[in-house]
Symmetry: C2
Subunit: 139 residues, 2 copies
DNA sequence: TTGCGTGCAAAGGTTTTGCATGGCA
DNA sequence: TGCCATGCAAAACCTTTGCACGCAA
């Protein structure tokens, strides 16, 4: 399915380069579009979405669905998808929006537990813990 | 803020009773609206959303934001908010959309671990593990 | 030349808001 | 009687799709 040839375009390069230059940042389609609107030749919203879909399909970019009604966020995650950061989960502060990467044995064990006991394969790249960060919980 | 008096209405009672009668079920605003359209006097979409907002604010109902573009889901969780289901997390299959409740000690420990070691308070109600369910992972 | 990439406009869907009316207290 | 609740329509938003034109190979 979808075996059509993909052309190599300037938009593709620029999009990938931009996302790569913002490691750990979660960008909305709008923010990305705004960035490119400062270029000589802006990138249309439609193209932004289509490029992002492609990058997600290729495993180079991760899509996060945050609060409903808000727009989805995109982040460059690596050359080869999930294998680049095998034990990394994310925590997002619902108050300030801060995103924290966590990587430790405990998390690894939970993943194994959910698989063994609940028969469910967790996709770490898609999973985000929501809550309050150190700063915000003390308010 | 929002200190206005709340009236006690039939819609409020019916909505709460309906959600209570579906424990563990995740219902969209549309499904709820459809249910009440079979009543003598249907409940408008606007009212459904407003009642749900109220119930969420009161802590009786939990709102889940799943995939973007899909509608949010609502679930009755208890008289006193999160304390009724203290160790419950959710797993959503990204393939078939199935939502699984998991509740066990292991999860409880992770929550504590993230708090102790990473200084982050996890909001279980907002957090969803994405991955593949038993059926879909064997394809 | 072929067929994917692009952009505009329009459609699709969910959720919110404005406003006049109805119902609780 | 006062004020919140309701419902209809319309708006606001994010995202997708149709279609004609542009551009890579």
């Amino acid at each position: 399915m979808a075996s059509s040839v993909q052309y190599h375009t300037k938009n593709y390069d620029d999009m990938l380069a931009f996302l790569k230059s913002m490691p750990g940042k979660h960008l909305t389609a709008q923010e990305i579009c705004a960035h490119f609107s400062k270029r000589k030749k802006p990138m249309g919203m439609t193209t932004v979405y289509r490029q992002l879909d492609r990058l997600v399909a290729q495993g180079l970019v991760q899509k996060y669905n945050l609060e409903n009604g808000e727009s989805a966020c995109y982040e460059f995650t690596g050359q080869n998808g999930s294998s680049s950061d095998p034990n990394c989960f994310h925590c997002k502060c619902v108050n300030c929006g801060k995103l924290i990467h966590i990587e430790c044995e405990e998390i690894k064990r939970v993943e194994k537990h959910i698989l063994d006991e609940h028969d469910f394969v967790v996709d770490k790249a898609r999973t985000v813990f929501y809550g309050l960060c150190a700063n915000c919980k003390n308010k």
